[in-house]
């Protein structure tokens, strides 16, 4: 288990504002307390490690003694489903990601995401229309969660009405990423394993149906599969589908919620966004820098001894790359703790970089842009009822569990 500053970062009481801890961490750019992971917190180090071919994302390259609290789930996972491409290296990673990309983005499906614009707008409008009592809105439960879930279901071809079923599994699996110091590791491992198994069985049923009766959705297209690569094995398909389903709704929720929270804390920016919806584009980029939904990448392992900032990190060590800390590195960004959507120089790490950079980025960006500009336009005089709001337990996928706001009314 991690000690000192790492356990403080993981501790729930730091969730609302981990940034002072990251600042502390950056004083030791390669932090290692002797037993835990090697923690990298400065922008340029993270940036180059994300492009370093000596670094593996495959937990099987982790030495048994790496002392990574996040690695414990590894073995159990493999008995349920093989690792998704998130946790694989090339060439397997490249092959699976390429096949997954065929029905999703350019060059083969250049209009997929943009073609969803109309549908996204309709869902956003519908959710805002139905916010109900404007004196007390929970923006997470009433908007930021149902929106991406509806979209990812539509995109994948997962029945929206099954949400209560897979929500529980997805939650457990997202939580398994979090090194919760209080949880019993054996119990956690069992729950994670069970959830993966059940989610896998659920998706297997859907895929079976799609094979017989394919539609326009991504599950159908992945199940049928064509292109120069051979198609995915059933197990690969299940892992990929599970990854898309979970990543597709456990991250955008936080991006939208963090976004609205930040806007309500910066009313001048909110006012500008209302006047000028196009501001949503640079604003979401700044948000990905300022409050990234994925705070850290806990899954990297050097294949050989590597040197970072004068420190030798031994082969097989566990490494954490704290993206959210790199994003606030004053050696890279001027006034890093200032939220400034007009910032010109905004090469953030919020969506990662290199071969594992966020697969769903184009969709996440579009969802957040539409959601925030519409909320800004339609909510009359919105205000926070609770600041800071209660956060989710997760330190990796960080975001408010609830965001209670009030407004004077809903504009047409």
């Amino acid at each position: 288990m991690a000690h000192g500053i790492l356990s403080q970062i993981l501790d729930y009481s730091s969730r609302a504002n981990p940034y002072p801890l990251y600042e502390e961490l950056r004083k030791t750019p390669v932090f290692h307390d002797g037993t835990g992971p090697y923690v990298i917190s400065t922008y340029y180090d993270i940036q180059s490690l994300l492009h370093d071919p000596r670094l593996s994302s495959d937990a099987r390259n982790l030495a048994a003694t790496a002392g990574d609290p996040l690695a414990e789930g590894g073995e159990a996972e493999e008995t349920a489903l093989p690792p998704s491409f998130l946790k694989l290296d090339p060439p397997e990673h490249d092959r699976l990601r390429r096949m997954t990309n065929r029905p999703f983005g350019p060059p083969h499906s250049p209009h997929r995401v943009d073609g969803m614009r109309g549908g996204l707008k309709d869902i956003v409008s519908g959710l805002i229309d139905n916010l109900g009592n404007t004196e007390d809105i929970d923006l997470v439960d009433q908007f930021a969660y149902p929106f991406p879930v509806t979209m990812i279901c539509q995109l994948l071809g997962v029945p929206r009405e099954d949400e209560p079923k897979f929500h529980v599994w997805a939650d457990t699996l997202a939580a398994s990423l979090d090194p919760d110091p209080d949880a019993d590791p054996a119990e956690r491992q069992r729950k994670t394993h069970d959830s993966r198994m059940e989610l896998g069985m659920y998706l297997a049923g859907l895929i079976e149906q799609r094979r017989k009766d394919p539609g326009e959705d991504m599950l159908s297209q992945l199940a049928v599969g064509h292109g120069p690569d051979e198609s995915m094995s059933t197990m690969e398909l299940l892992s990929t589908a599970a990854l898309l389903l979970i990543a597709g709704h456990e991250t955008t929720v936080n991006l939208i919620t963090n976004g609205m929270l930040t806007l309500l804390r910066n009313p001048d920016v909110l006012a500008n966004l209302r006047q000028e919806p196009g501001l949503a584009v640079p604003l979401v980029e700044e948000l990905l820098r300022f409050e990234p939904p994925v705070q850290l990448l806990p899954q990297r392992t050097p294949l050989v001894d590597i040197e970072v900032g004068g420190i030798t990190i031994p082969k097989g060590s566990s490494m954490w790359l704290i993206l959210a800390s790199g994003n606030r590195d004053p050696n890279r960004f001027e006034n890093p703790d200032r939220f400034d959507p007009y910032r010109k120089d905004i090469q953030h790490l919020g969506l990662g970089s290199g071969i594992h950079s966020c697969f769903g980025a184009p969709l996440a960006r579009l969802e957040a842009q539409l959601a925030l500009s519409e909320l800004a336009r339609r909510l009359e005089n919105p205000r926070l009822l609770e600041d800071p709001p209660p956060y989710r337990q997760n330190a990796v996928l960080r975001g408010p569990r609830h965001l209670r706001i009030a407004c004077d009314g809903i504009r047409a």
Binding site: P53, R54, D89, P90, P91
Partner: protein, 464 residues
């Protein structure tokens, strides 16, 4: 504070930029950004405001973009006097004036030369005039060739399999046109990337239906009675019927207008120091004439202080920014242009990128992926260090190799990487053609002093 010469220049000086393309435009923008408030004149021999060239050999030929609509985006207003459609014809360094084709003389306090390169024409002028014979450099070239391809010719002949020639061949195949590529060397891209990678590129072309003929040159073009090209004669004695011919024999530097000016300019470009200040013929650095972009050649510490000329988009931008910065700075605030060469191309659905100077490499090692899958990283070695790298559909790793080049990391790389395959365990000869044999546009030209070279170049830097 004392009113320095620099303050005066910034306030009311006259700056002339010759060359109204990418480098000229970016330099002008940076000068304004740095507070230059004087008069700014941009001179260009083409009648257009600066436009982007990479799409001309790609999207434009596919009919996906209009050659007329590739204007370069502006970062800011530059408030310039534009002299477009009129070429600079001479330079008087003593009088500080640029002479124009229309007889006018434009005075300057600081001059930036960014005249770039032009396509090397087909050497036989009569044959070059035949209808259906193209080069590809300007917007008009791109529009004309796009029209010719859209008309559905029965066969296109591309002479020269450098990057431009290969991109044109790729566009032809994507349009379903029959295309023959005639290359004097033993494969496509060999001048820039060597024979090992050239073999991969050759396979790529052939699999995509290109009639690739290597080790062959075109000896003559033949027209019909109406003055249209109808056939080409090849060095192996055969004749090829074709109704469109694209000459892709690389580029020539636009320096002729400087002949007799006393500036260190010649066929290989304009020599300048690392801060973009031009040298005169005697090897003395000027203080008021700067150079940027394809036409410049400057010494680079990472590559043995050889003089490097780069026909790279990114180099034009970076060098222009450095030149403009230095023009607006006191000598102590100037900075060197030490950009690591970087280049990309897109052909036959493959994204090709390179960094460093692969053509300096004597060995290559495939450190990731495999050549047979045409998804790989190749690292070039020179005297025990990493000197360049190339990727085919693997560009996300390139940043790492760029750092290896910058830090003169050892070659072969002593570590393993993800996606290392059995054929990537050891280096093999990179197989570059003999440098004394001319090739189609290598995109990087090394033209500096080398102790092994027993000849005097236009410019020779002092040994100490």
């Amino acid at each position: 504070m004392a009113d320095t010469a620099l303050d005066q220049l910034k306030r009311s000086g006259r700056i002339v930029v010759v060359g109204a393309s990418l480098a000229g435009l970016r330099a002008a923008e940076v000068m304004r950004e740095k507070g230059f408030a004087g008069s700014l004149t941009l001179i260009g021999d083409e009648p257009h405001e600066p436009y982007d060239r990479p799409p001309l050999s790609k999207q434009v030929l596919l009919g996906k973009a209009d050659a007329e609509r590739t204007l370069l985006p502006r970062r800011r207003d530059i408030d310039a006097a534009w002299r477009l459609g009129v070429a600079a014809t001479g330079l008087d360094m003593a009088a500080r004036t640029v002479k124009l084709a229309d007889g006018e003389e434009v005075p300057y306090d600081r001059l930036l030369i960014a005249t770039g390169v032009r396509a090397r024409p087909w050497p036989n002028e009569v044959e070059a005039e035949l209808a259906g014979v193209f080069t590809l450099r300007t917007r008009e070239d791109g529009a004309g060739l796009a029209r010719a391809l859209a008309a559905g010719p029965r066969r296109v002949l591309v002479i020269g399999a450098g990057f431009t020639g290969s991109e044109i061949a790729s566009a032809c195949r994507e349009r379903g046109l029959e295309v023959t590529v005639a290359e004097r060397g033993n494969g496509p891209l060999v001048g820039a990337l060597g024979g090992v990678i050239g073999a991969v590129a050759a396979e790529l072309q052939r699999e995509n239906g290109v009639d690739l003929r290597t080790g062959i040159s075109v000896t003559a073009l033949e027209g019909d009675s109406t003055g249209r090209v109808r056939a080409a004669h090849l060095s192996d004695g055969t004749t090829l019927e074709c109704d469109v011919v694209v000459v892709g024999l690389g580029a020539q530097r636009n320096t002729e207008w400087l002949a007799g000016s006393g500036l260190g300019a010649g066929p290989r470009g304009i020599a300048c120091d690392a801060g973009c200040r031009a040298f005169d013929l005697r090897g003395i650095v000027t203080d008021d004439i700067y150079v940027a972009g394809d036409v410049a050649r400057s010494p680079h510490a990472l590559f043995g202080y050889q003089f490097l000329s780069l026909e790279h988009w990114g180099n034009a931008v970076a060098q222009a920014e450095t030149a403009a910065h230095n023009m607006m700075s006191e000598s102590t605030d100037r900075r060197p242009h030490l950009w690591v060469p970087a280049f990309w191309s897109s052909q036959f659905g493959v994204n090709i990128k390179s960094v460093g100077v692969p053509s300096m490499g004597t060995e290559i090692m495939i450190t990731q992926g495999s050549r047979s899958e045409r998804r790989f990283t190749g690292v070039y070695g020179y005297q025990g260090r990493v000197i360049g790298a190339v990727t085919f559909d693997n560009g996300r790793w390139l940043q790492f190799y760029e750092k290896q080049i910058e830090s003169t990391a050892p070659f072969p790389p002593p570590f393993t990487t993800v996606d290392r395959r059995p054929d990537g365990q050891r280096p093999i000869p990179a197989d570059f053609p003999d440098p004394s044999v001319p090739t189609h546009g290598p995109t990087i030209t090394l033209s500096g002093y080398s102790p092994a070279e027993r000849r005097i170049a236009t410019f020779t830097p002092a040994g100490h």
